[in-house]
């Protein structure tokens, strides 16, 4: 995880902040966090290439799938962090690893980077 550039998309500040703190503690470099799809897409376009991403599935008023599509196009590995169960996730992304909230940040690195 050390030195990896990881995008965090999470609409709840408290959770985003907690995730950021935990990732930083593991030595990662956090991009974001972003609370909306448009913020996230802006960061992807602007930032240096990403090494991975952690996406909350349901944001305040929208689903995160447009972000997931762009990441897949670019070959960036990502995981969903969500309270929803697997059947609630868009079947287009059925193969994407899913971690449940509350997130144990130490479980993210193996999923993203093997």
């Amino acid at each position: 995880m050390r030195g990896r550039r990881v995008l965090v998309v999470e609409d709840d500040y408290v959770l985003a902040d907690g995730m950021e703190q935990a990732l930083l503690a593991q030595g990662a470099m956090v991009v974001g966090p972003a609370a909306t799809v448009s913020q996230a897409l802006g960061l992807i376009a602007r930032a240096d290439p990403l090494d991975g991403a952690v996406l909350d599935v349901k944001l305040l008023t929208e689903w995160v799938y447009p972000v997931a599509e762009v990441l897949r196009e670019r070959g960036v590995p990502f995981v969903f962090a969500t309270g929803y169960d697997r059947s609630s996730i868009d079947p287009r992304f059925a193969g994407i690893p899913r971690i449940e909230k509350p997130v144990d940040v130490s479980s993210i690195a193996p999923l993203l980077f093997g």
Partner: protein
């Protein structure tokens, strides 16, 4: 007889009379045996009609035994008696060998010793036949009438007075023959018929038309009622005048009751089938409908004619037709049918889900006679099940999210606490605030949460009502989306807690006002502007929740902008706090949680 034919004598005149008349006439001489028993007789004279009446020719001079040896003995006995006693006799008797029946007058015409007898006779075989057949016929009718136990047969005179009453009538009406003879038949009428002049009407019509059918209730002697199916027939004299009436009626009470019960049963069945909300239908063989209820036609708009056979498939959603055929194929060998398909609703052109079930109707041998099926609207049920699935999923999401929030609040409270005691105090308060919010959220499907609810709830939790005269709260009722409630109310909790500990509510003369308004309420995204203002604050120690990095200020200055897109100002100077929070209120339609 040797008289001169030219001379008119009494003997000649009698002779001419005998020759001219239709009756046969002869004079015989009875012959006796030594014991004085009559054994034969000889014809002495016969008239012209004799041969026609007897069939015997050239009889004069010959004996009866020589002509007809088997002639019955009683003929000889009678003539012998007449000859011996001298008394005439009149009788009727059969003569088998002559194949005739005779009406005979025999009288002595000489002395007892001469034993001559005059016999005047007439062949009455024809009349006898008619009389016999009449007797037979009457006997037959009598037997029929008396044995027709199921029919009430009686006659009345022209005024309706009973003058004949047979066994069946007694059985059906309960009155004996003696009771009824001489009484008017109107005691058999029901009170209604009597009141309506039914008797007169029946008799008048029968008299006019000769025959009137009677199908109605009649009264029994015991007061019970019998339902009679029959007729009244007018009886007429040979001159055409009305003699009376013949009434024949059958007691069909039991049959009528059975028919009525059957009709009632059919009515009930029909009311049931057409009254239940299910669409009902019948099929002669799998999938081939032979009947459908009005509800089917009302729902699908398909007439019964169009639905029969496989016509019903037209109402099935095209995507479900194959499944329907498969379901029938599985049910074909006697297993019940059970399937869910969408059916077209003629009223709105949409489809609704129906559960269709059918069971085979079997005869006494167990063979399937037909199928009786119902289709039940389960669309609402399915929609509720879908909603329930969404709710369960949402609950799971919310619970996990909440645990994550608790974990995060614990982390951050820990970071800003310099002792475990301080951590405990603040953490417990924050958990209490979170708990209050969950309580509000759980009821939010009944009534949307408003900003006023959040503000009053947090101030009440601090006991601010004790300082009510120093607190002003006001603004329009603004319903909030559930998605922003939790973050916003945590922020308000931090503001209120700090006011209680360090701010306006901690000082004896401090004043707090929380005022809000909707800016540009008609816009696509109206802005909710909240002003939290405290005055009369005592100078505060530096290390508290109002410092730059404190949890409360981070929520207001970072979380609200981050999560809700809010703009916030937070100024604390010269004993006064001015905090303004502006939140864009997105429309609920965009996808609430």
């Amino acid at each position: 007889m040797g008289e001169d034919p030219a001379v008119d004598t009494p003997a000649r005149r009698y002779r001419m009379l005998f020759e001219a008349m239709d009756e046969g006439f002869c004079i015989i001489q009875v012959m006796f045996d030594p014991h004085d028993r009559p054994v034969d007789y000889r014809f002495l004279e016969v008239n012209a009609a004799f041969q026609h009446q007897t069939g015997l020719s050239d009889a004069v001079g010959r004996t009866m035994r020589s002509l007809r040896p088997a002639h019955e003995q009683h003929w000889f006995d009678i003539y012998g008696r007449v000859a011996r006693t001298g008394r005439a006799e009149r009788f009727e008797h059969a003569a088998a060998e002559l194949q005739a029946y005779y009406d005979v007058f025999a009288c002595p015409v000489g002395t007892s010793e001469e034993a001559t007898v005059g016999v005047l006779f007439r062949n009455i075989s024809g009349r006898r036949r008619i009389e016999e057949s009449l007797r037979d016929s009457e006997e037959r009718y009598r037997l029929i009438v008396e044995n027709a136990r199921d029919y009430a047969i009686f006659t009345t005179d022209a005024h309706g007075i009973v003058n004949d009453w047979h066994g069946g009538a007694e059985r059906i009406y309960g009155y004996s023959r003696d009771e009824m003879l001489g009484r008017g038949f109107d005691i058999l009428l029901t009170p209604e018929d009597r009141r309506d002049g039914g008797r007169e009407a029946e008799l008048r019509i029968a008299a006019e038309t000769g025959h009137v059918p009677v199908v109605r209730w009649r009264l029994r002697k015991d007061g019970g009622r019998v339902f009679i199916e029959g007729a009244i027939t007018a009886l007429r004299n040979p001159d055409g005048s009305l003699r009376g009436f013949l009434k024949i009626g059958q007691d069909v009470t039991a049959r009528r009751a059975a028919e009525e019960a059957l009709r009632e049963s059919r009515r009930r069945q029909r009311a049931l089938i057409e009254g239940i909300p299910q669409l009902v239908w019948r099929a002669s063989e799998p999938a081939h409908w032979t009947w459908c209820s009005p509800q089917w036609t009302a729902y699908t708009g398909l007439t019964e004619e169009r639905s029969l056979g496989l016509g019903w498939l037209e109402a099935v959603h095209p995507d479900d037709r194959e499944a329907a055929r498969m379901a029938w194929a599985r049910a074909g060998d006697g297993r019940p049918l059970d399937m869910e398909t969408r059916l077209l609703n003629a009223a709105d052109g949409g489809h609704r889900w129906f559960r269709t079930r059918a069971a085979p109707v079997r005869d006494d041998t167990g063979a399937t006679v037909e199928w009786l099926g119902t289709s039940t609207d389960v669309d609402d049920l399915r929609r509720l099940q879908d909603q329930q699935h969404v709710l369960v999923s949402e609950l799971q999401h919310r619970t996990r999210n909440l645990i994550a929030v608790v974990q995060s609040v614990a982390d951050q409270t820990l970071r800003s606490s310099d002792s475990l005691e301080a951590f405990k105090q603040r953490f417990v308060q924050r958990m209490a605030a979170l708990s209050r919010i969950q309580g509000l959220l759980s009821r939010s499907d009944l009534k949307a949460i408003t900003l006023g609810d959040l503000v009053r709830m947090e101030l009440d939790a601090l006991g601010a009502s004790a300082a009510a005269e120093r607190v002003a709260v006001g603004g329009p009722e603004v319903p909030l989306r559930n998605a922003i409630v939790q973050t916003l109310s945590l922020a308000i909790h931090e503001l209120a807690t700090n006011a209680r500990k360090y701010g306006a509510l901690a000082a004896a003369d401090g004043r707090l006002s929380v005022l809000w308004r909707l800016d540009d309420p008609g816009a696509q995204v109206p802005r909710l502007v909240i002003d939290w203002m405290e005055d009369g604050i005592r100078p505060a120690p530096p290390e508290n929740g109002r410092s730059e990095g404190g949890f409360g200020r981070r929520l207001i200055e970072r979380a609200l902008p981050y999560s809700l897109g809010a703009t916030t100002q937070y100024r604390l100077e010269r004993g006064a706090l001015r905090c303004r929070i502006e939140i864009p209120l997105h429309r609920r339609a965009e996808g609430d949680d």
